[in-house]
Amino acid sequence: MGFVVSPDALAEDPHFYLDCISCHQGNQNAADKAAAHKGMIKRPSDQPETSCGQCHEAISKTYTLALHYTAAGMKNGVAPRFNAAEKKLFDQKVFEQSCRSCHASCGDCHVQSPVVSGINSGLLDGHRFVKADESKTCALCHGGRVWPEFTGDYTGVPDVHYRKGMTCTDCHSGDQFHGTSGAASGRKDVANRPSCTDCHDIATMGKDSTQETHATHLEHVSCSACHVTSEYRQCSNCHEGSGATAKPGLVLGKSPRNPKELTTLRLIPTVRDTFKHAGVTMSNYDSLPNYWDAVPHNLAKRTDRTRDCNACHVEGAHYLQTSDLPEGLSLKNLELVP
């Protein structure tokens, strides 16, 4: 049996300038296990500022306000469905007990893979501190939707960016994960989140006809509406209570954040009694739709829509239809039908 922290790791990784107890506490001079482990902290970076923050002060501070740590997007995303009393109850009985338990510590990305449903894949590389290892970290928490869509393991062919060797951090910078200063309320509020146009200058890219097509659609159609190539996961029931079901689908509809834009929509599985088990009702359930604008990470240069204008302009391929709307969900969904 090898050691978790090997002599090689000690020699190579500057973090091991510190003793184990500098992060994990406990008593390194104790002779027996019980005494040595007394006061030990298994996951020191659950509290970033008092652990990693000893050296990485600024980044640990901003991270405590970042979405991966606060999970605030989950709370704020559903909040408009509650009245004030319901919201308070939700925060106490659901968010803190359930959603919030999914926050990522520093170590969940840099030391060991995060725990999902009680399971993880262990240390990333012994106990070495790793800058990024997306297939062992991002892929676990985002393994239901984004990652398998990106790699082609869910349906269709892999995303064109993955085929060219790119992984998460090639587009999503460290700042987005660590936060910058203020508390983010949701991923759409992250100022420096990536955009296709960071790399692709659509004014000059491609043939004349491509530039014309991009210019024509720019204000009305999102990039993903044309360039998502495969069906992606649509969850059709709540992930609490009775359990979730999902099936592949490619859905185009009006963006709930910008009704003038046609975009890819993903069904988010909050049903009317999602939080019933916790005694939380949603008096304002119909104030939010169940479909949300999403960018499935399964992009291609050519798709059925880029190859043939008729796909959208005649056939309305993939367009959300009133008859597609799941029964009993939000009345707001009707507003997203193109």
Binding site: S135, T151, T155, G156, V157, G165
Partner: protein
């Protein structure tokens, strides 16, 4: 003179199936010696992380060469998607492509890719014997990170004679030589994959397990493979359809029979048992002790 001309014409019609600029199975030594060939594309089809951690110098990584589609597990991508993937990998019809999988245990996935390429119109394709494990075991050079080649204009042109769908199988059920390359227990109906609807095998199918092709992760000598086929009294002159559970294993014997032994009338059934077992009109046969 007319007879000679006719023979030449016939020979020309038959020849392309055998015309290869590279053996169907190549060794690490051969690959190392040919890395400088401008026509060579080393196609590493392992997971991206494994490829980035170490690969044959100059190799490109490609994914998405088989995919779930139409309720079947392993299907050929649409022509335009496949064209894009191969073109991005720097492949065209003139390329010599060597497919690299993890090791001998993944030989079947290597032949699945190799079959797809030949079916798509790239005739000179080989499989690296023993996969990347054989390359590193032989102490050959290794590169890390991601490499790319100049994109080509390649457009796939499927060779229908290499492919069987359910309609073709049903039409030729009684006259074709059907080879079932799954394990014995599956063939005899003692076990089955969860996604296959019936135990047993297609009536009249002959068992020719894919597992017979390799030993210790390496492909057995050609003469030995040829002897197996001969012992089973299989005929190169008959229309032959190879199937397995989902169209991956089938490509192993397709590869050996067509690309190594020169058979010209062999099709791989892409949908395989996963597809045809759903048809109530096709009653699979199980082992019975008589």
């Amino acid at each position: 003179m007319k007879k000679l001309a006719l023979l030449l014409v016939l020979a020309a019609l038959v020849a392309p199936a055998f015309a290869r600029d590279v053996d169907a199975i190549v060794s690490a030594d051969w690959l190392e010696a040919n890395l400088g060939n401008e026509r060579l594309v080393v196609l590493d089809v392992r997971k991206m992380d494994d490829y980035k951690a170490g690969h044959v110098p100059g190799a490109v990584n490609a994914m998405g060469l088989y995919m779930a589609k139409n309720d079947l597990s392993n299907e050929v991508p649409d022509a335009e998607d496949l064209s894009d993937i191969l073109a991005e990998s720097g492949i065209d019809a003139n390329s010599i492509v060597v497919v690299v999988e993890t090791d001998g245990a993944r030989f079947t996935w290597a032949t699945r890719v190799a079959w797809t390429l030949v079916y798509a119109g790239v005739p000179n394709v080989a499989v690296l014997d023993g996969g990347y494990a054989a390359w590193t075991k032989a102490g050959k050079g290794v590169a890390t990170g991601f490499e790319s080649k100049d994109e080509t204009e390649f457009q796939v042109s499927f060779n229908a004679a290499y492919f069987a769908d359910k309609a073709y199988v049903l039409k030729n059920l009684k006259k074709a030589q059907i080879l079932d390359v799954r394990a014995y227990d599956t063939y005899f109906g003692l076990a089955k994959a969860a996604f296959v609807a019936q135990f047993g095998h297609i009536p009249g199918a002959t068992s020719l397990p894919a597992a017979w092709i390799t030993a210790d992760g390496m492909v057995k000598p050609k003469a030995e493979l040829e002897a197996m086929v001969k012992a089973l009294k299989l005929s190169a002159s008959k229309e032959t359809i190879i199937h397995c559970d989902s169209g991956v294993l089938a490509t192993t014997w397709w590869w050996i029979l067509t690309q190594q032994l020169g058979w010209t009338k062999v099709r791989s059934y892409d949908g395989s048992a996963q597809d045809i077992s759903k048809d109530p009109a096709v009653k699979f046969v199980k082992l019975t002790w008589k």
